[in-house]
Amino acid sequence: MNRVTQYYPILPVLLAYAILFIVGQTVSGTWQLVATLLFYCAMGQAFNIFLGMTGYVDFGYVAFMGMGTYGMALAITRLAHLPGLGAVVIVIGFGLALLMATLLSLAVGAVALRLRGAYFAIATIGVNEGFRFLIEGARIWNGAEGMIFTAQLVNIVGSERASRLMTYWADVMVLAIAVLAAAVTLFYMRNRVGYALTALREDEDAAKVMGINVTKYKIIAFITSACFAGLVGAASWALKTPYVFPPEVFEIHYTVEAIIIVMLGGAGTLLGPIVGGLIYGISKYYLSIFLPGLQLLVFAPIIIVIIVMFPEGVVGVLKNRTRNTALGRFII
């Protein structure tokens, strides 16, 4: 494998996202669905960097998306009155989203990443609720009332561009985040980080005595994953729907969806989150039409079956089938 061919697996990723984008743009009435699918793929891609590559479950993952949403919301609400900044505010918003997601991941990681397996899960399961109640309880950032900032957004970019931002550009940003997350995943896989993460996911003690500083690599994966979650929150929640309410952006339901997507597609694989995101998003869409309100009732047993019978997920199975074949070069 040389320096170029080892990055071939990015091609099916790009192809999938390109098709999705083109379908959304050309087939009328599909953009809303495509936007939703992009959101699921991006969230899965971000979550996979941690759950998939380390084998640790962060049940409080949605908190990073919440932080990203608040980052963007704060930038827009606090800077809207400054003249001449214009769209720069959005860039600052993404920066703030990254910063806040990173800070939270450092705080959580400092406690949780010292812990193994089950204890890690226990430490993280309350992060989203804990943060929600801190914001509500101490009345930080408007507390339980949240923030609505459509008006400020209009102030900054003008009403026409604001509506274009909400209905189109925000989704394109989510697409870009998803592609970037996939690229980073592949880059990690092909470098020391990926080898270290595979080793620690399979056997942490063995990895340590092989000379791997497992804490360092767990932190790298954790922060990377949190940053992408923050970006997804900023783009898909704050810009697409310019309001933020604590119970919504810290809702564990999104962590659940991320888990389903990653496990369905194949944890730790590059293509898994796309496959999982598409399967989940499309079936959820049709379930909401034919069996409204029962999506989770359908997905809960499916996820159990996957864990028991196909823990590698769709892409994992495909990857094993195509190992050492021409196709296998593209599927990881």
Binding site: V57, A123, G130, L134, I259, L297, P301, I304, I307
Partner: protein, 297 residues
Amino acid sequence: MVVEQMAGNLIQGLVLGAVYGMATMGLSLIFGVLKVVNVGHGAFIMVGAFIALLLFNTLGINPVLAVPLAFLFGLGLGLLFYYSVMQRLIKAPELATLLATFSLGLLLQEVVKLLFGSEYRGYNWAVGKIDLGITVLPMSKLYACAGSALIAVLLYLWFNKTRAGSAMRSVVEDSEGARVCGVNVGAAYALSFSLGIGLTVASGVLLTMFIPVGINPYMGGHYTLKAFVIAVLGGLASPYGAFFGGLVFGLLENGSYTLFALIPGVEPFALTRFFSFLMLLIILLIRPTGLLSEKRT
């Protein structure tokens, strides 16, 4: 005035704490024996709460009787889930058991939602109250507290005085050693998983005494979090540790609420919840094996 209020709330906290403790014993039992964290714990509590509600509202069965019925139901549910799912994951990576228990909880939640809807419900078991001067305690809460203590004692006796119990204890200590000594480890796993679920479902009945209108398919999440705090307080693998952890947690929860209520401009209820999360992190930071346990892991 504040002191009286605090004393009254602490008494309430102790009564609730006993029930919290009992509601966490199942979690610790399952972790102790199977080394599996039941992330869906709260959903089983929710099932118990619904059992109490339905028995009371439709058949007029009082909650005292609902406790053993819920326990039996939980035992059955535990066996079903153990043999259909958990048994296949005993040797699997931790990720699998965490996600599986989580999904089982999710499944229960969605089934209950499908059957009974998602609005908040409750029932009123009026059996009088006693006035302690500083606080008023409904008898129903006292019964729940006494019931929890009784169940804890029964579990203790079962663990220490019966053959099955001591076999289970040996699995907690060293599952390989137990296997060598002729203990049927598979049966011990099945038994403790279903016993743990049975206890948890039964505890859901007792908890309904404290939430007159809080029964809802999604109520479990909060209790999962609380149970984790309590379990790590008492040492994750020890059911009795969990019971005492519950008492401590009940006191801390009500005590911190009383104090937060004194601070102007904050939401004491939300802050109390944040506080319990903070407590979890602090305990995990200082001593992951539990503050009340003197044992190693």
